[in-house]
Amino acid sequence: MSLLSVEGIYGGYGDVDILNGVNIHVDPGEIVVIIGPNGAGKSTAMKAVFGLVKVREGRIVYQDKPITNLRPDQVVKSGICYVPQENNVFPTLTVQENLEMGAFIRNDDYSADLKKVYELFPVLHEKRRQQAGALSGGQRQMVAMGRALMLDPKLILLDEPTAGLAPAIVDLMFENIKKINGLGVSILMVEQNAKQALAMSHRGYVLTTGRNRFEDTGKNLLANREVAEMFLGG
């Protein structure tokens, strides 16, 4: 049984469809990566899952329940969290306040989850009273992921978690993603660092012009000649 399955969705921002029949599924415990050229519709596909882009045709099912075209806050309540590609922290709120906002819909005690996030990212505990806007790019990305973890979700959508980070920090972020996955959280992410991302993922999708181009295990995609020529620098 899939945790999330996106079945042949069409949709976009205006009259033109950006997504032309995208199929994605994520099984429990998996890390799944989407790669593809700029403008392929990777972010748009993520937004469609999250109710930020209207799905005109096709459907999205999460834990056997249809979530097609739900409002973002309803999607959050069903147990999926989303870390957008950019502007993904509240810059004038402190690190701790950012994390608290992640738990906004919870009315119970979330201190255990807060502790878990600080254990995962000790540097955030150190800087918990600083404004998130003043942090480095990597730390901001940790705040954004930490905020998503506050709801103890089963699935996190990450849009380019390593974009714009220095190579050493990129490695660290991938380590963090593996750690989060180790906690039993499934991950669907979009990545530009295709080689590394595929190497650590269970499965991957290659999207071009809003369509599935390839779909296979991370290993097989890495070995695929065509994929290598397109994205992995030959």
Binding site: N87, L93, A134
Partner: protein, 287 residues
């Protein structure tokens, strides 16, 4: 020197009133992304709502104040949910036009019900206290003290409560707030409760200091905007400081310029800030 100190007192009193309006305006601007042109008329509404309670129950204005505030906040939320909410999906500037319409409707309703004459909460003149040659009225102490209390309360609300933090979060990035699961409409309702309530207090204070009149709030709208811009849009603390500065400068100008032109001074200051430092005069990140 005494004159200067006396003007300082008047300036702080006026500045307190302007600050209360500017804080709400700035919050609304930051969260809903449009300049709320009916804010001055919320002042007026608050003042008249309190007036109704004063006349009807024959109580002092300070007793009527909470009722005036509650009624005004209610009206503000009702306007938002019936009018502004429907227009949120379109461009923010449409909200601006709608708020101009609301401003005229509010003012005209007040005119229709109470006429366009002047009114006061209490007849008679308050005798000022004399203190080291300075004239200070009881009402002035109430206005400044009340403003300080409200600013502290607002600070605690924004920093300590979940809703207050969510308001700041929405002001930072409302798209992110939405995908984080924050109930955007609930936060917007709270924004109107606070913005409308503070506007009502400002209107009541203004009427205590001067008189009730259907355009009293509209006439203050320009200084209030000037204060919000001076402080940097969406920064409540900046708006408070901006309000005090505008109040002081307006009063200090009176020996040199006809008092009728006080709003022009606010305007000149605002234009100056827009030319030199459009993000507001206070350095540092917005809060």
């Amino acid at each position: 020197m005494i004159d200067f100190l006396q003007l300082t007192i008047y300036g702080i009193v006026l500045g307190s009133i302007i600050s209360l309006g500017a804080v709400g305006l700035s919050l609304i601007y930051g969260i809903l992304r449009f300049p709320h042109f009916a804010h001055g008329d919320l002042f007026t509404l608050g003042a008249y709502m309190a007036f109704v309670v004063v006349v009807f129950f024959n109580v002092p204005v300070l007793v009527a104040l909470p009722f005036g505030v509650a009624l005004t906040a209610l009206v503000a939320v009702a306007i938002d949910q019936t009018v502004y909410r429907r227009l949120r999906k379109v461009k923010p500037v449409i909200l601006l036009i709608a708020s101009v319409g609301i401003a005229l409707i509010l003012r005209s309703v007040i005119q229709l019900v109470w006429g366009s004459g002047n009114r006061v909460y209490e007849a008679g003149i308050q005798m000022p206290h004399l203190w080291m040659g300075l004239r200070i009225q009881n009402d002035h102490l109430i206005i400044v003290g009340g403003t300080i209390l409200l600013v502290i309360a607002l600070h605690l609300f924004l920093q300590k409560t979940k809703v207050g933090k969510a308001m700041r979060a929405m002001s930072d990035n409302s798209d992110l707030a939405q995908v984080t699961g924050i109930d955007v409409n609930r936060i917007i309702i709270w924004t109107w409760i606070i913005g409308g309530g503070l506007a009502a207090v400002a209107g009541i204070f203004l009427a205590m200091d001067t008189r009730l009149h259907p355009v009293m709030g509209w006439r203050l709208l320009l200084p209030v905007f000037a204060a919000a811009i001076l402080g940097g849009i969406g920064r409540p603390y900046g708006a408070i400081a901006g309000g005090i500065i505008i109040g002081l400068v307006q009063e200090y100008s009176t020996p040199f310029l006809s008092p009728a032109y006080k709003p022009a001074i606010a305007f000149a200051l605002m234009i100056l800030v827009l030319i030199v430092r459009p993000t507001g005069i206070f350095v540092g990140r917005k809060v």
